[in-house]
């Protein structure tokens, strides 16, 4: 296996001054998954901490996270089961916990949705954001454990710990999605679901295009102001690669209207969702560019009433960990009945139903 020895080898002075040219080596990819760095985790952590330090400002922009968490909880209710241990991965301000304490909008009399779960573990890397709403009332209505992750991409849990893992609006800041999903698969009990939602696809395309056009005209080039996002068709492959079965992926667009593009950017900042792409241009966007982008945003995408729309495309994903009693497709070649015979015997024809 990976056994290797470290020898204390101190080369003699004559060996140490070998010119570099003579000591060539191969460029080797480290074994295991290649780690691709897209986002600056430190920056993201700092942005979340800063955003949460302004408690009121941060609560005012919870509208998106609450709505999405609520929709995710609805999907959890669709699974007819009781979940003793649930993990909320990347909990932000515990929005899932808050939404679980409310009744489902479809059946308001059925009591809080949290009846279906026993313990919720909320894991998040930003301490201030995680503990922001610690003293609010909903904390008493659900058994919740807050857990600050030292790194957002290594999960400190034992295998087969959780009956369900939820994740709402935090996976789009993950550098190494395949690794995190594989870890999620590992900490789930057999035959347990992972339900996640992340921002993806063409989210914020209005802001992206207007900033690009503005920079093109003002500065003659573009730089990154919005994250690269996963697309719907990537998600299936990602989940499958991480070992999930019975995949469900669906997309939901939420369009939010803002008075102007500055309000949109201010809200994103208050959510802690500012740009954290590695290699972005440091410092604020130039005022000339902001001024130009505002005019372009209005002309290109603006609504008739003078507001501007911002699209958030949410990708919901459900995957099940392998379990012994789970429904599985039959092996290839095991089909003994021809579908043609079945259809012909039913309708006495070629499958076209005659009325």
């Amino acid at each position: 296996m990976n056994s290797f020895r470290i020898r204390a080898f101190i080369p003699s002075p004559s060996l140490r001054i070998i010119p570099l040219r003579t000591s060539r080596g191969y460029a080797v990819q480290a074994p295991g998954a290649p780690t691709l760095e897209i986002f600056n985790r430190q920056t993201k952590w700092l942005q979340k901490e800063r955003a949460a330090s302004d408690v009121e400002g941060s609560r005012n922009v919870d509208y998106l996270r609450n709505e999405v968490a609520s929709r995710l909880c609805e999907r959890l209710l669709d699974i007819n089961r009781h979940f003793p241990e649930v993990l909320d991965l990347g909990a932000n301000a515990c929005n899932i916990a808050r939404m679980l304490t409310l009744p489902s909008p479809e059946s308001p009399d059925a009591g809080p949705r949290a009846n279906r779960i026993s313990n919720l573990t909320a894991a998040e890397s930003s301490r201030s954001l995680l503990y922001r709403d610690e003293d609010l009332e909903f904390n008493n209505e659900i058994s919740i454990i807050r857990d600050v992750l030292t790194t957002s991409e290594t999960l400190p849990y034992d295998p087969n710990t959780f009956d369900a893992v939820l994740s709402s609006l935090s996976m789009h800041w993950t550098n190494d999605l395949p690794s995190v999903l594989a870890q999620v698969n590992n900490i789930l009990k057999p035959d347990s679901p992972f339900l996640g939602v992340m921002i993806g696809g063409d989210s914020l395309f209005e802001l992206r295009t207007s900033l690009q056009l503005a920079e093109q005209d003002r500065r003659g080039g573009v730089s990154t102001h919005t994250s690269p996002l996963a697309d719907v068709r990537d998600i299936g492959g990602l989940l499958q690669k991480a070992g999930f079965n019975l995949l469900t992926v669906d997309v939901d667009d939420i369009v939010v209207d803002f008075p102007d593009s500055f309000a949109l950017m201010r809200d994103l900042q208050a959510m802690g969702e500012s740009n954290a792409v590695l290699g972005r241009e440091m410092g604020a966007i130039q005022r000339d560019v902001l001024l130009a982008a505002e005019g372009i945003y209005r002309e290109l995408h603006g609504n008739e009433d003078g507001s501007i729309p911002a699209t958030f495309r949410l990708i919901y994903m459900i995957g099940w960990k392998d379990g012994p009693n789970q429904a599985k497709p039959l092996p290839r070649g095991s089909g003994m009945v021809s579908i043609k015979d079945v259809l012909e015997s039913q309708e006495g024809g070629s499958g076209d139903q005659k009325k």
Binding site: L213, A214, Q216, D217, R218, R219, G220, D260, F262, A263, M265, R266, R287, D288, L290, L291, A292, E294, G295, I296, Y297, R298, E299, L300
Partner: protein, 59 residues
Amino acid sequence: MPTKTRPIEKFASAVAKCSAEGSVYGKCIVADYNNVHKDKCLAEFLRLKECYLAAYKKR
């Protein structure tokens, strides 16, 4: 208690006073947005900026 105005809010309120110029500039860019090059709409932008600077000072 006097509320602290963030620079971006001051900026936004000044820009809001120049919607006519902003619209002219936006139309100029959007008219042919597949071929945008540097200073494509310089004249329109300078008018927008002039208006914005005046609004920013007056405030």
